[in-house]
């Protein structure tokens, strides 16, 4: 059902067309009536919070009210064009885990669909902050190895909140990677520079395009 326009609540007719643009007929006993629900008959969302959990995952909690005809299986939270994993649903909130994204640094679209469709409070015009989109800060979670050759090694890093559209590298103060590439969501491939690090060091991740 089209997402971009607000309709007057009430009935509408659903029309299905053939490839020839002829209208489909309705079988005996069937009818074409669809009802657009009034604003007080659908859920309302009021905002969201983002946290990076102790499980090393980004979790979003959407607050709202009247969320009654929706379950984990019927709610769709789509960020950056990708459906994310819904963890739980109650009448006042939805918890979502970020599972994939093309770029965390980009402003990603933030779409919310309950069983009824788009809720009240999504659009900026309604005072919502969902329509503006969302971005994520990359979080370095783990490395495939903590040791490597002084001639250079390939290291894979788990970086939550970043995808193939992000240009990230590993730092130990300086850029550690001669080659760096986000090969998929949350997976950074780094070919380290030749050289030695005299002792174990704590690494961080950096956007190569930032100052």
């Amino acid at each position: 059902m089209a997402r971009d326009y607000t309709r007057v609540s009430g009935i509408a007719e659903i029309i299905v067309f053939a490839a020839t643009y002829e209208e489909a007929t309705y079988e005996d006993g069937a009818n074409e009536i669809f009802t657009f629900l009034a604003a007080d008959e659908i859920p309302t969302i009021t905002g969201y919070t983002v946290e990076f959990t102790t499980d090393n995952k980004y979790k979003l909690t959407i607050q709202g009210s009247g969320i009654t005809d929706t379950t984990v299986d019927t709610v769709d939270i789509v960020i950056g064009g990708f459906e994310q994993q819904t963890l739980s649903v109650s009448s006042t909130q939805v918890e979502v885990e970020l599972t994939t994204l093309t770029s965390g640094a980009d402003i990603n679209s933030f779409e919310v669909y309950f069983g009824e469709g788009i809720p009240n409070g999504w659009s900026t015009a309604e005072g919502g902050d969902f329509e503006a989109g969302i971005s994520f800060e990359p979080k370095l979670v783990a490395l495939s190895t903590s040791e490597g050759s002084s001639s250079g090694s390939t290291v894979y890093a788990l970086v939550e909140g970043a995808g193939t559209g992000d240009g990230l590298t590993l730092l130990d103060g300086d850029n550690l990677c001669e080659e760096y590439q986000m090969v998929s969501y949350s997976l950074l491939k780094c070919v380290t520079n030749a050289g030695e690090i005299s002792s174990a060091t704590s690494l961080s991740v950096k956007d190569v395009f930032s100052d």
Binding site: M1, T6, V8, I14, T25, E27, F36, I42, E116
Partner: protein, 124 residues
């Protein structure tokens, strides 16, 4: 049969419609049960006769064989949704295409603003 070339068409009973040639995608020359598989790209609703021409044998008998082109909606669910859109509606019926752009869906409603009457077909 395997060495033959066939032209298969559907001829409308309605004089206002056009004869449509179908694509022959497979010829099965199995003795006793030969067959032609054709790809049907859609046609205006109505009843059609079948016409099969063999390059080697001429017109084959298709007397009494008819084809009816139609599209029907049996039901859709849910029957209500948000005034802001975004409701996933499943429409059931017969003779839908498996190409999502072949069966556009629209609805007639009164708008507060805008003019989008289209539904976005996700799967078919």
């Amino acid at each position: 049969m395997a060495d033959d070339t066939f032209t298969v068409s559907i001829v409308p009973h309605d004089e206002d419609s056009k004869t449509r040639e179908l694509n022959v995608v497979e010829i099965d020359a199995t003795p006793g049960s030969p067959s032609l598989t054709v790809k049907y790209g859609g046609a205006y609703g109505g009843v059609y006769s079948l016409e099969v021409l063999s390059e080697l044998r001429g017109a084959l008998s298709t007397e009494g064989i008819t084809f009816e082109a139609k599209i029907e909606v049996a039901d859709f669910n849910p029957r209500q949704g948000s005034l802001y859109g975004g409701t996933l509606v499943t429409i059931t019926g017969g003779h839908f295409s498996d190409t999502i752009t072949d069966n556009p869906v629209q609805y007639e409603a009164t708008y507060v603003g805008g003019s989008d009457k289209n539904c976005y077909v996700k799967a078919s």
